[in-house]
């Protein structure tokens, strides 16, 4: 350091581009059970170590190990089987929607393949009255909350089964009844809204919990900072989730400053944070239970970095083979969440290959029959638009239609 150097612009590059050997050496891991479960009222200061470690419950043999497993309690087979089913449904639904897109029946979709444990596990731990502030890649929240598949597909196909009457781009749902806030196309805006919603819950003397969701890439937005800051200052009952799936369209996590684990961002705000294996359904359940309890009991917000991998393309407009090795998904060290939970259930004597196959058939039938019904109401095929009512486009801009819009509708003859 005695020699005079000059500054150079550092432009981060992912470890591998197409044609190169994928690597995840930069993702810090920990063995299952190695990270201890703190009390739910742990001080933020005492969670600092968690940012560079990884909470995992399932070991390589599919056994649930460590104090997070204890915190979760006796693995109730029903909850886990329900989770498996939700994940399988989400995955098959994704496949069908991608196919429907290739067939021109819908115009946009974002699959969450490989990330299903996070949505399906977290949702299981929420209570009625709580509210998710989700992104477009979280169909699993809806599936596991019991949102009707026909309505889900109605939005995809722009027909009258769409509760939103064709107003919003798929898959940007809204269902207050299912604790699912209206999805925005504008990234990160919902993150600070969730904090505001939780502030309202506290002001209201309530203990309803808000769950904020964001992708690794979108943490770069200013609203992410706003959310952490407001959570830090007002300490409302909010769980701040980051789904770190390693990619933001073609940009790897390094472009979002992800050379430092995102969980670390919490420290500068005095917020508690955890870093979790997002492909481990039991870890998701345990940590969700912990974080939601902490928030609900007024011990303050917690930021959770869920570590996972976007096995799918970004969306139906994307072809990831252009910017990352095709072999990357296979190299992902945390495996597939469905396979891992299945193995655990079988190891625990709660499941079998036969039952799995039977479940698969049932799920596919359910999804296919919903799709049949949904498609019968019209799809987006041919580029002419959906069959949702035209008049809807003038309704709901305001509670009452103002004069100028009334005149426009009149002139349009709609």
């Amino acid at each position: 350091m005695t020699q005079t150097r000059r500054p150079r612009l550092h432009v981060p590059e992912p470890p591998a581009r197409p044609g190169q050997t994928p690597s995840f050496a930069h993702v810090p891991l920990s063995p299952a059970g190695a990270v201890a479960c703190p009390p739910v009222d742990v001080s933020p200061e005492d969670t600092k170590d968690f940012a560079s470690r990884l909470i995992r419950v399932l070991d390589d043999e599919g056994r649930a190990v460590g104090s997070w497993a204890d915190f979760l309690g006796a693995s109730e087979g029903d909850v886990l089987r329900r989770g498996l089913r939700d994940m399988m449904t989400t995955r098959f639904l994704d496949q069908r929607m991608l196919l429907a897109h290739r067939q021109g029946k819908t115009t946009n979709y974002a699959a969450s393949t490989g990330e299903e444990a996070i949505t399906c596990g977290f949702q299981r731990m929420l209570s009625p009255g709580d509210m998710n502030f989700p992104t477009y890649r979280q169909s699993g929240l809806l599936v596991s909350a019991g949102f009707p598949l026909t309505n889900f597909m109605g939005l995809q196909f722009g027909n009258d089964l769409d509760p939103l009457e064709g107003k919003n781009l798929p898959p940007m749902h809204s269902s207050k009844a299912h604790g699912f806030f209206t999805v925005s196309g504008n990234l990160a805006t919902q993150y600070v809204q969730a904090v505001g919603w939780a502030m309202a819950s506290a002001i209201d003397g309530n203990d309803r919990v808000a769950a904020a969701w964001i992708g690794d890439g979108a943490t770069a937005e200013g609203d992410f900072h706003s959310a952490l800051l407001y959570a830090s200052v007002y300490r409302p009952p909010v769980v701040l989730n980051i789904t770190n799936n390693q990619w933001a369209i073609s940009s790897f996590v390094g472009i979002a400053g992800g050379h430092v684990p995102f969980a670390t961002r919490a420290h500068g705000y005095g917020l508690a944070s955890l870093r979790v294996d997002g492909n481990d359904f039991l870890a998701v359940l345990a940590v969700s239970k912990w974080a939601i309890a902490r928030a609900r009991q007024g011990y303050g917000p917690v930021l959770i970095e869920w570590v996972t991998y976007r096995a799918a393309a970004h969306s139906t407009s994307d072809d990831p083979s252009v910017y990352r090795p095709k072999e990357e998904a296979a190299a992902w060290p945390l495996g597939d969440p469905i396979e891992r939970l299945k193995r655990h259930l079988i190891a625990a004597g709660e499941w079998s290959e036969e039952r799995h196959e039977q479940a698969r058939v049932e799920i596919e039938e359910e999804v296919l029959s919903a799709q049949k019904e949904a498609e019968s109401r019209g799809t987006m095929i041919g580029g002419g638009g959906g069959t949702a009512p035209l008049s809807a486009m003038f309704e709901g801009v305001y509670k009452e239609m103002p004069e100028h819009l009334r005149r426009q509708r009149q002139k349009a003859g709609i």
């Binding site: 925005s184 919603w197 209201d204 801009v397």
Partner: protein, 337 residues
């Protein structure tokens, strides 16, 4: 009936609603213990508690973003942006979120929210304390945009805004806070206590959103105006002795088309005045709706008097500000035109 400044009227509106409705919460930069840099929230924290009136971090996007969350929960936040010039970090949350939550969720969620902010110049605030950004909001479907010109309206409109089920941008002409400034900066300011619109009823009343009001009936020319410029236009018309019908727009979005059209159909002439820069200002929309509806009544071109298309200067404020002289000249021109 009490005589109030516009600051007191605005504070009173929030007080009335906070007292009536536990869902109403007030926050923003310096609004809590201190009561706001213009003192509009003074006393509200002491009276209604820290959880319903509190300071916010200096982060306007966060203020509005958090308020959107609260509104969708079911509260009725009424937030303050310290100056309208500082609303832009919140522009995304206002235009892409608050304005569209009802529509994009097909009314599954709604966003009753008031965003108050001092607007306009006349206080030597330079480019960063003088802007009039109303036109940045009037283009946005889903928003309502309100600008009062006196204490009576300010209270009634603010109560109506808080009770409204949609997001409202509430612009407070800061040059009017203490008196009806008419552009004659060289004269001593008349306090609201000496103005009939400084008389503000106690308790609850509303001035409906979406309704303009004829401030001065007249036969010769319609003047469309709002905020500080209402008083400037009145002064200008009196000084040159033109029988102008002065319409205080009050709600810019949605616009009271009937009142405007009726007047111009009668007078056949129209002058539009605002302080914001002219190009793509709200005057362009006013001019357009008048032209579209009253074309065959018009006897002269509609004239816009507005801020010059430059950032708000500091030392040259009075040459920049569209005062009674410039408005008077336009009134003469439109009569001759």
């Amino acid at each position: 009936m009490a005589r109030m400044t516009m600051i007191e009227a605005i504070r009173d509106a929030m007080d009335v609603k906070m007292t009536q409705d536990r869902r109403v919460v007030v926050f923003g930069e310096d609004v809590g213990y201190f009561g706001g840099v213009f003192r509009c929230t003074q006393g509200l924290q002491a009276k209604h508690g820290k959880e319903r009136c509190f300071d916010a971090p200096i982060n306007e996007g966060g203020i509005v973003g958090a308020a959107v969350g609260m509104a969708t929960y079911g509260l009725r936040p009424c937030v303050e942006i310290q100056f309208a010039d500082y609303v832009f970090p919140a522009y995304d949350q206002i235009t892409q979120e608050a304005a569209r939550i009802r529509f994009r969720s097909n009314q599954d969620f709604t966003c009753p929210l008031v965003i108050r902010m001092p607007t306009g110049g006349g206080i030597f605030g330079g480019q960063c304390h003088s802007q009039s950004p109303e036109a940045c909001f009037t283009h946005v479907a889903g928003l309502k945009v309100v600008i009062p010109s006196n204490p009576y309206d300010a209270k009634g409109l603010l109560i109506a805004a808080i009770e409204d089920d949609d997001p409202v941008i509430f612009l407070e002409p800061k040059r009017l806070y203490n008196g009806p400034f008419d552009g004659h900066h060289e004269r001593k300011i008349v306090p609201w206590a000496q103005h009939e619109l400084g008389e503000v009823p106690e308790g609850h009343y509303t001035v409906p959103l979406g309704k303009a009001i004829v401030r001065r009936p007249g036969a010769d020319v319609t003047v469309l105006v709002y905020g500080t410029m209402v008083h400037v236009a009145q002064a200008a018309a009196e000084e040159i002795g033109i029988d102008a019908e002065i319409i205080d727009i009050r709600t810019l979005l949605p616009l009271d088309l009937d009142t405007i059209e009726r007047s111009v159909a009668k007078t056949g002439r129209c002058v539009i005045v605002h302080e914001a820069t002219q190009t793509s200002g709200f005057g362009a929309e006013l001019l357009s709706v008048v032209q579209e509806a009253c074309f065959y009544h018009l006897e002269a071109p509609i004239i816009r008097v507005a801020g010059y298309d430059a950032p708000y200067p500091y030392a040259q404020e009075w040459a920049y500000f569209p005062g009674p002289d410039r408005v008077g000249r336009a009134l003469r021109d439109v009569m001759e035109g």
